[in-house]
Symmetry: C2
Subunit: 176 residues, 2 copies
Amino acid sequence: MLAENGYSATSLAAIADRLGVSKGVISYHFAGKAEVLNEVVRSVLSEAEAWMSPRVAGAASFTEALRLYIASNLAFLDTHRTEIFALTEVLSNARATPGVAETFSESHQAAIAALEALFTGGRKAGEFGDVAPRASAISLRAAIDAVSGLIREDPAFDLTGFGTDLATLYERASAR
Amino acid sequence: MLAENGYSATSLAAIADRLGVSKGVISYHFAGKAEVLNEVVRSVLSEAEAWMSPRVAGAASFTEALRLYIASNLAFLDTHRTEIFALTEVLSNARATPGVAETFSESHQAAIAALEALFTGGRKAGEFGDVAPRASAISLRAAIDAVSGLIREDPAFDLTGFGTDLATLYERASAR
DNA sequence: CTACTCTTTGGCCATGCGGTCAGAATCCAA
DNA sequence: TTGGATTCTGACCGCATGGCCAAAGAGTAG
């Protein structure tokens, strides 16, 4: 519902209606609307984590890890569009939903830290040049995060092509 | 009000109250709330345009243009935080406000197209290597757009440092 | 001073929201 | 079969929203 009709159209009444159930059921099982939305965020984030972890783990070098990270993240976005749209819809209105901002921020910080570690690791191993790890991590994550908006506007957007271009871009930027 | 208290707290009643004026005044001067919010978007976008244009125009090379583009854009974000926060607040809820999505999308497409032209120009002039113009344009804009969120979370975020790092990153990526 | 237009007021409306609750229905173990 | 616990219903509450409008007020040209 979030993905299809947006945040403001996703009222408790609308949710209950869609479930073919009375509104009170939601109140019975959840403390409130905020808890429902937080659960949406939590579940999508954990899905993403479960998808990416094993795919990046198999990298034999930092360069390969970078490629795998980008490719697997974009693949997740591609194959989980509804979830991603729902997530962004909730995040857009995070101010109206206590807890959501904190949950996501934590996860987002962790993602940036992981990428930063990848860049510093590559530098220490002599695989990368003197790239700025934090700025690279931030900007790469921003580029990936922007993709959800791109595929929303143009569902046919070439994710794979963008992924390889992005990987090449950061590979060159961090080359020795 | 948008920047301080967020979209959902910015009702017509709250706006009128802040102006020390009756609610009907807004209805008298605007067709509806959507028109008010569209005006916010329109005005911030045109402010940004007015700020950036002259600053980028003076570039003597594509490399310099790239640096100036990034630096001036970040300087605008830095010095117009309230406007930027207000803008993002409206954009976050674009689905609830007809017209906003279209206005912004148009401006955003134009910005990406301009950056793409910068990269292709640099290539044709032999200044840049075989960088992917579109992917570079998209990812660079994403990196810059993400800054509004960064300074919201951490007002002391080092924008200048990030700007030079970002410029260096894209310079290296597009080097011959 | 008058007469007309423009602007503002303050109360009103219908609507939809999140949330509550008494009571009905259902489930399930003893 | 029974009886207590769990789950669900549908009506209801208070509240805030965007919008509307008759009437009062302010401004201004002749």
